[in-house]
Each structure stands twice: as structure tokens, then as C-alpha cells.
């Protein structure tokens, strides 16, 4: 493997309860917002998001790997669904 092509990526993995799955936290937050007077809010879903820094040869490769991580560890496929986005990290941001 050559390092030349490899570069740094930031994958954002977003995990939410599947449609139909009970989301008690979202409901409690909805109630809380209601108490605070945000009556315009009709629904809240509570999820988790992971920012994963990784090296990969290309955006596609980074996406493939991040997808696998999401499947294997970051989400629970029985009750959750996930989505993944990838962006390059420039060296100064790191």
C-alpha cells in the first residue's frame, strides 16, 4: 500500500430509532419544549451522531468503511437505522 493517495476523512454517522420504534426520549423532549412554550413543535426524534476521523484512499473507500463501522458497532440494526456522510479533512483543521 502506498501512502501517497491516502488522506484524512471525517465520517458523520447519524443513528436514529427506526420508524415505528418507540422513542421515549424524543417524547420527553417534546413535552419539555411544550412546557417552554414551543407549541409549534409537533414531533421530536432523539438520535446519536458520531464523528469518525479516518484515513482512506478515496471518499468512496472512506464511505464504505464508515458504513461497515455503522453496521457493526455504531448502530443496533434491530431498532436503529443509520446514515453516513463523508467529507475530506484539510490538514489545518485536523
Amino acid at each position: 500500500m502506498t501512502i501517497t493517495n491516502s488522506s484524512k476523512w471525517l465520517a458523520s454517522v447519524t443513528v436514529f430509532p427506526k420508524t415505528g420504534v418507540n422513542d421515549p426520549e424524543g417524547e420527553a423532549i417534546l413535552g419539555g419544549l411544550g412546557q417552554l412554550g414551543y407549541s409549534e413543535v409537533s414531533r421530536v426524534r432523539a438520535g446519536r451522531i458520531f464523528r469518525v476521523q479516518l484515513t482512506a484512499d478515496s471518499a468512496e473507500a472512506a464511505l464504505t468503511r464508515a458504513n461497515r463501522m455503522a453496521e457493526q458497532l455504531l448502530s443496533n440494526p434491530v431498532i436503529e437505522q443509520f446514515s453516513v456522510e463523508v467529507e475530506p479533512i484539510s490538514d489545518q483543521v485536523k
Binding site: E25, A28, I29, G31, G32, Q35, A46
Partner: protein
């Protein structure tokens, strides 16, 4: 009269009330989170539990309950308030106490008996202790790691707001005794004036030898002395 404030999902309210009435002999009653007239109370306990199911952050939603605004005024006037566990979390969320409580370092809820060393007596709730006294109290929480940035921590130290730290049975402060990963082993902090105290361990569960210990009497009865003096 001591008010024990109950939020939806509070579950340590019963223990606080029972401890105050039956073990300490203090007059106490529940105060509903919707109540806004607090005139009849001399002190408040915010008990442990899972207010609003710990949704979002522990204490984040309870902090906006109707009772909280008059409670903040009560605090402002120097009235004694004790926040235990979830009550501590509510008080930090409400900015009546500094810092925040993060998830335990282990990422797990844990329940066991700990030792804490009392470092400050100059407040409503530890005035009955001796300087350096070691209390054995149970903890039961998933998010008890006290956090504040370094500047804030230095200030808290300087102001004498760090009231107790986790320690070994002999009083030494070690990483091993700091099971939840609190900054500087902090187990209890007060506000600047010393009338509001928050702590993660449960003094109200330790006011009777039959259930494991009575060191909590020192804290639960403190306000009583304070009130007697004050009245």
C-alpha cells in the same frame, strides 16, 4: 418546614422525606414541581431520581419546571437548598451551582458505598461535620462525573466551594476512589454563598444503621441546626 421537591420521575423523594421525618425528626413535606408559592418553607431538598427519564441531559427538563423560578429567588435570598444526585444535576442545569455532571467514566451506572472527605464546613449542609471528616455514603448514578473547566475549578477551590471529594476509607484522595471520573475527585460543590449544596452520594439513604450506615445524618440534620440558629 423542609420542602422535598418532586419532579415527574423523581424517585428519591420518598427516601429524603422518610429520612428527614423519621430519622432526623425534621418537619418535611413534598412540594409538587408545579407549585410556585414557596412561602411556607425554610429549606429545600431536591431528591435523586430520573426526572423526565433523564431525557436529553439529567435535570435538563426539570430545570424549567414552574417551581424553579421561585426556588432561584429563594436561593438568591440565601435559603438553604440541598441537591442530591439528580437534584444536584438539576441545580447545575439551572445554574444555581457551577459545572455539569457527565457520564461516569465507565459509561455505566454504578451503585456502591463510597467515602467522601468533607473539606468545607462553611455552608448550610456540612456545618455539622468536622473539618476533614470522612463520611461513608452510597452512590447510585450513571452521570456523576463532575466537570468544569480548569479556570472554573481553580476559582471554586479558591472560593472554598469544593465541599467534599471522593476518598479512600482513610481519607486519602486517590484516582481509585474517584470511581466516576469527577474532575479533581469532586463529590460535592456549593454556590458562592454556601447556601446551595449539590452532591452525588446519597446522605438520605444513610441515616439508619439498619440499612448500612448513619453518616448521612450529619448532612441531613445540618440544615435543621442552621434553621434553628437562623429562626
Amino acid at each position: 418546614m423542609i420542602g422535598v421537591i418532586t419532579f415527574p420521575g423523581s424517585n428519591g423523594d420518598h427516601d429524603a422525606l422518610h429520612s428527614l421525618i423519621d430519622d432526623i425528626g425534621a418537619p418535611a413535606e413534598y412540594v409538587d414541581y408545579r407549585q410556585t408559592d414557596l412561602a411556607r418553607y425554610d429549606a429545600f431538598v431536591l431528591p435523586g431520581g430520573f426526572s423526565y427519564g433523564d431525557a436529553l441531559r439529567c435535570g435538563a427538563i426539570a430545570r424549567f419546571a414552574p417551581v424553579m423560578a421561585p426556588l432561584a429567588e429563594f436561593a438568591e435570598r440565601g435559603g438553604p437548598i440541598l441537591g442530591i444526585c439528580n437534584g444536584f444535576q438539576v441545580l447545575t442545569e439551572a445554574h444555581l451551582l457551577p459545572g455539569a455532571l457527565l457520564r461516569n467514566e465507565t459509561l455505566k451506572f454504578h451503585c456502591f458505598w463510597t467515602h467522601i472527605k468533607i473539606e468545607q464546613l462553611d455552608n448550610a449542609w456540612t456545618a455539622g461535620c468536622k473539618a476533614g471528616e470522612i463520611l461513608r455514603l452510597p452512590v447510585a448514578h450513571g452521570e456523576g462525573a463532575f466537570f468544569a473547566d480548569d479556570d472554573t475549578l481553580d476559582q471554586l477551590e479558591a472560593n472554598g466551594q469544593i465541599v467534599a471529594r471522593y476518598c479512600e476509607p482513610d481519607g486519602t484522595i486517590t484516582p481509585g476512589a474517584n470511581a466516576n471520573g469527577s474532575a479533581r475527585s469532586i463529590a460535592a460543590v456549593s454556590n458562592r454563598q454556601g447556601n446551595v449544596l449539590g452532591l452525588m452520594p446519597h446522605p438520605e439513604r444513610a441515616t439508619n444503621e439498619l440499612v448500612g450506615g448513619a453518616d448521612g445524618v450529619k448532612i441531613m440534620s445540618s440544615a435543621l441546626n442552621f434553621l434553628n440558629v437562623a429562626v
